[in-house]
């Protein structure tokens, strides 16, 4: 951040509270407008789009990526990344499959095992980053990504596991009225982490570390502990996403979640978070995840081939970030 030579900030326009709020709103506004515009266009292009069934379908389809993106947001806020979420998801549900289906253990023990495996792998990610002093989480989580994927294949010799009990499938399958339970889970988790990030010391620590790691250390923040927590939570959320996926497809398969880390990163970035840490909101990320889900759903309704969908999503990422760059440039130049 280059120093501003004049007393630029001494005369804020309007009362500071309002200004701060408008800053936050404006930050998320671009993504929200994009989402609304997208929905509007799709409503005109396809009469199947704006129906309760389809919207709930989108809510359901977006939940896995939304949960992964939430964990990803935490790591990106600290100027890190977690490439292992897709593989952690796979190993968590494969382990659960062995415990619940093959060994016939209690389904709730299976769910605990699933979440436990994810949490443990996330904790390892954090430990490798901070205690082994690997230079960047890109490396530690790239390693975990391969290890977890390999183990997920080894567990059953690459065979999928089906036939999960009702209790395991509940979160991913059930509806509360018209609303999928998985989406309610997403909203609850996002609400929880919104509070953590905006109203707790831990939240401030996360932003502070991403904003200026050296300054964070000097301000008395236990940087290593916070980073370990962040990667542990990312692992836990990946396992939770796995639980939702198992309920939706009634199967655990070793290639589950392959490439999902990229959709999660895309959601975080489209949602306005900075790749360099310190900037980003929970709601922006949720909107980012919804944009991707709506885009995929809309392109499906319009019979656009899956390959071309990937091209479109790539373009959306670039446009979204470019708009953000333009916005920041105009603010600095003003």
């Amino acid at each position: 951040m280059s120093p501003v030579p004049t007393n630029a900030a001494v005369a804020p326009d309007g009362p500071p509270r309002a200004r701060r709020l408008s800053e936050e709103v404006r930050h998320g506004l671009g993504a929200l407008l994009g989402l609304l515009l997208l929905c509007l266009v799709l409503t005109f292009l396809s009469d199947k789009f704006f129906t309760l069934d389809n919207l709930m379908n989108i809510a359901r389809q977006s939940s896995v990526n939304s949960l992964l993106a939430l964990g990803m947001l935490l790591t990106i806020l600290t100027a890190g990344i977690d490439l292992s979420v897709g593989s952690v998801l796979a190993l968590s549900i494969m382990t659960m499959g062995v415990v619940v289906v093959q060994w016939q253990w209690n389904p709730f023990v299976g769910i605990a095992v699933c979440l436990g495996v994810g949490t443990f792998l996330g904790w390892l990610n954090g430990l490798m980053l901070t205690k082994l002093r690997l230079p960047h989480p890109f490396i530690s989580t790239l390693g975990t990504m391969n290890i977890a994927r390999g183990l997920a294949l080894i567990v059953t010799g690459a065979a999928p596991i089906a036939g999960f009990p009702e209790a395991v499938q509940y979160v991913g399958r059930a509806f509360a009225g018209p609303v999928p339970v998985s989406f309610l889970l997403v909203v609850a988790m996002y609400g929880l982490f919104h509070v953590v990030l905006t109203r707790t010391a831990t939240g401030r620590y996360i932003y502070a570390i991403g904003s200026n790691r050296e300054a964070a250390r000097l301000a008395g923040i236990p940087v290593d502990r916070v980073l370990i927590l962040v990667y542990t939570l990312s692992g836990l959320l990946a396992a939770l996403a796995g639980l939702v996926l198992v309920g939706r497809v009634n199967s655990a398969y070793p290639l589950a979640g392959l490439g999902y880390e990229l959709d999660a990163i895309a959601a975080v970035i489209i949602g306005g978070a900075s790749f360099f840490g310190g900037v980003g909101t929970v709601w922006g990320t949720l909107i980012g995840a919804l944009i991707i889900a709506v885009l995929r759903n809309g392109l499906n309704l319009l019979d656009v081939a899956a390959d071309l969908q990937t091209v479109v999503i790539g373009a959306v990422i670039i446009v979204a970030v470019y708009l953000d760059v333009l916005r920041q440039r105009s603010r600095k130049g003003a």
Binding site: P5, R17, E214, R217, A219, S274, G278
Partner: protein
């Protein structure tokens, strides 16, 4: 009375260069102690040795009666030794208030489990940090910019925020590395007021500074370094009339 900070026979070499040689001094609690000297005198090296950033070749630094050698930075900070840098180290995207709150958080005990689940304790801790940060900003006359992102402040203001954030840790000793660097005269006056306020609040300040005029007006005691060695030590009055200092550093008076 033993000093809050005791430096004994500290020496540090970089290759063949003797940056700090056999430096000893003692900072009693509650005073504003300044280290001055020309460029290359070893001020910043001394500063880094004292704050635990560099390991000394020989000699000892004792803070509050114990050696802090090898402690991690956040432990040193929590033990009551806070520092600022010549280069600004703020959280540019966060507001001034949030920057200072981070300093307050270090003293408000609230674990991450509280943060996730224990809403009562979390709320209380957060409110305490916020109130304390607001109080400090008011104390240092920075309340007008509390809700502005720190990165968009003028340079001099950012420096004051950095000092207030360090102050929010309630340090026993506040180490400031050339706080007046890059400030204009008006900002220097404001800085002097901030330093006096910090001392009035009972915080011991160790200041490494290039600006002799500032040091002469705010410091209680001054240590003069020259080529890594102690040239003189005493009150501003003593330093101003010390023959060796006058000859080597302040310049001879034109009569």
């Amino acid at each position: 009375m033993p000093g809050l900070l005791e430096v004994r026979r500290l020496t540090k070499r970089f290759g063949g260069v003797q940056a700090v040689v056999d430096v000893s001094f003692s900072v009693p609690p509650g005073i504003l102690y300044a280290v001055i000297g020309p460029n290359g005198a070893g001020k910043t090296t001394l500063f880094n040795l004292v704050s635990g950033y560099l390991a000394a070749d020989s000699g000892e630094v004792r803070f509050n009666g114990q050696s802090i050698r090898g402690w991690p930075a956040h432990r040193i900070a929590r033990a009551g030794l806070a520092r600022t840098f010549q280069n600004l180290e703020l959280f540019p995207g966060m507001t001034v208030l949030e920057n200072v709150m981070v300093g307050c958080d270090a003293r408000v005990r609230c674990g991450w489990l509280d943060a996730l689940f224990g809403t009562g304790r979390r709320r209380a801790a957060n409110a305490t940090s916020r109130e304390e940060a607001r109080r400090l900003l008011a104390l240092f006359s920075l309340d007008g910019v509390a809700d502005i992102p720190a990165g968009s402040l003028a340079y001099g203001m950012q420096r004051m925020v950095e000092i207030v954030r360090a102050f929010a840790l309630r340090p026993k000793l506040l180490l400031l590395d050339e706080p007046a660097a890059g400030l204009n005269p008006a900002e220097r006056q404001q800085l002097a007021a901030v330093l006096r306020q910090a001392r009035a609040q009972g915080v011991t300040v160790l200041l490494v500074e290039h600006d002799v005029d500032l040091v002469m007006t705010v410091a209680d005691r001054i240590l003069v370094l020259d080529q890594g060695r102690v040239l003189a030590e005493g009150t501003p009055e003593e330093i101003q009339t010390h023959p060796a200092v006058v000859a080597a550093y302040l310049g001879e008076e034109v009569s």
